[in-house]
């Protein structure tokens, strides 16, 4: 892997990642500390650094591990999109555009957060009356009600019965160990020479299984145990048992070694 950042050291990250509020914070850190132009993010490089940074995150049982993994998946998706030939330069938005917007927005919020912390600290230097004599307060009923009918009526007009919630949303996210998916892939490729990505994922519900299986595929491709192959964009993704002879282009990972 051609990762050249000082972030390569995994031990560094095991300590560091807890410090970040979430994936956007980590991403922003990677970008800003390398003085990268946020409007022209080298997405392949950043993606690799991000993946290195979050390696082993599952094992450490972080509250927001899932969110880091979601971001990893989004980055990988953008990276893949960047590799595609752009059919219509005029109309197609840069695949990174939304990410850049989010990063800038988050950076702004973080700046405001710092200001709020400063205001809080300044306010904390003043103290109110520590003891206030207890007094009897009148019950709420004594106060005349100022609400008029038009307020009630306008509220009535605005009432809608909520739609039943999408059942999918209720599936609880559970930890899906990367190792489990790596074993699954290796086991499967021990029996057959190639397997469709979807076949590996279909027995499980929940997108996290897809994300983890994909990350496991990337990891194995890095270790030269499998090859990821896609005939054309958005076609079925195949995982192949690694054969030293295979030379075909891969979507991700393998070629960069």
């Amino acid at each position: 892997m051609a990762v050249t950042s000082p972030l390569q050291d995994e031990g560094f990250f095991v300590v560091e990642i807890e410090r970040f509020q979430g994936p956007l914070d980590l991403l922003l850190h990677l970008i800003r500390r390398q003085d990268i132009d946020v409007f022209d993010i080298p997405i392949a490089k950043i993606t690799d650094q991000f993946l290195v940074a979050i390696r082993g995150i599952q094992a450490r049982d972080l509250d927001n591990a899932g969110e880091f993994l979601e971001m990893a998946a989004a980055l990988v998706r953008i990276k893949a999109q960047m590799l595609l030939p752009r059919r219509d330069e005029e109309e197609e938005e840069d695949p990174r555009a939304e990410l850049v917007r989010r990063l800038l927005e988050y950076e702004q919020i973080r700046e405001i957060t710092l200001r709020l912390a400063a205001s809080e600290a300044e306010r904390a230097r003043r103290f109110g009356k520590g003891y206030v004599e207890p007094r009897h307060r009148p019950p709420l009923l004594d106060a005349p009600l100022e609400t008029v009918w038009s307020e009630v009526f306008e509220t009535a007009l605005a009432i809608t019965v909520p739609e039943p919630r999408d059942m999918e949303h209720r599936i609880l996210l559970r930890a899906v160990p990367l190792e489990e998916k790596i074993d699954l892939i290796l086991l499967t490729l021990g029996r057959v020479a190639r397997v469709e990505f979807n076949k590996l994922v279909s027995p499980w519900r929940g997108r996290l299984h897809g994300v983890m299986t994909f990350l496991a595929g990337l990891e194995l491709s890095r270790r030269r145990r499998v090859r990821l192959r896609q005939v054309r964009p958005f076609a079925e993704l195949w995982l192949y048992r690694w054969e030293e002879t295979s030379e075909e282009p891969t979507v991700d990972g393998g070629q960069e070694d």
């Binding site: 103290f127 520590g130 004599e133 009148p138 709420l140 005349p144 509220t155 009535a156 019965v161 039943p164």
Partner: protein, 229 residues
Amino acid sequence: MNPSQIVEAILFASDAPLKAEEIARADDSLDEDLVEGSIRTLRAEYDEGERAFQVVELAEGYQILTRTEFAPYLERFDTVPRPARLSGPALETLAIIAYRQPIGRIEIEYIRGVGSAGVIRTVVDRGLIEVVGRAEGIGRPLLYGTTGKFLEHFGFQSLEDLPRPEELPVVLRDRIPLVDRPEAESQQVDLDFDPEADAEAHRPGESVGESGSELSRHEASNVDVDGGR
């Protein structure tokens, strides 16, 4: 920063009366005598400036308190009725009850999409709604309706006077059953889960007796399915 200012700051911000030796701990420059002297200074200044407060010596120590002659103003400040308005949730609950009465809590919660026990109590306390009966079925959940005070306050002769234009949501205009699927019961439980409501105000200790309330929900939804009032 002179000693009497430090003593004043401590006396003002302390939530308990303090003895001179305790106040002296605030700064190395202070000792008991200095604190006593400072308190005499403060007392003189407060008297001279005709402040509304004074330094009082209680058994536990010194404290700054409002002078007793201002008690009537404090009492008046506390008791003059404040203008009161219904909150958004209270308005919504009242609107639902006004149009769909008699109606139980479960149905109100179904329409609003959030738990409503607290807000119902608020509107009951305001005298605008009251318990008007009980539904059939196990648990016999309470049914709410509007009061005479409701009519009086909003200027209606009777409930017939409530406007019912076309724009009124169907759920309020017609007494359609709220749940009409065979799987109503399980569905109900699912719908009732509102993570946002949860996010709002979970207080420790209030979740006791959950099975009871869950039961009553189920009952009430049955009432609704069957009765379809």
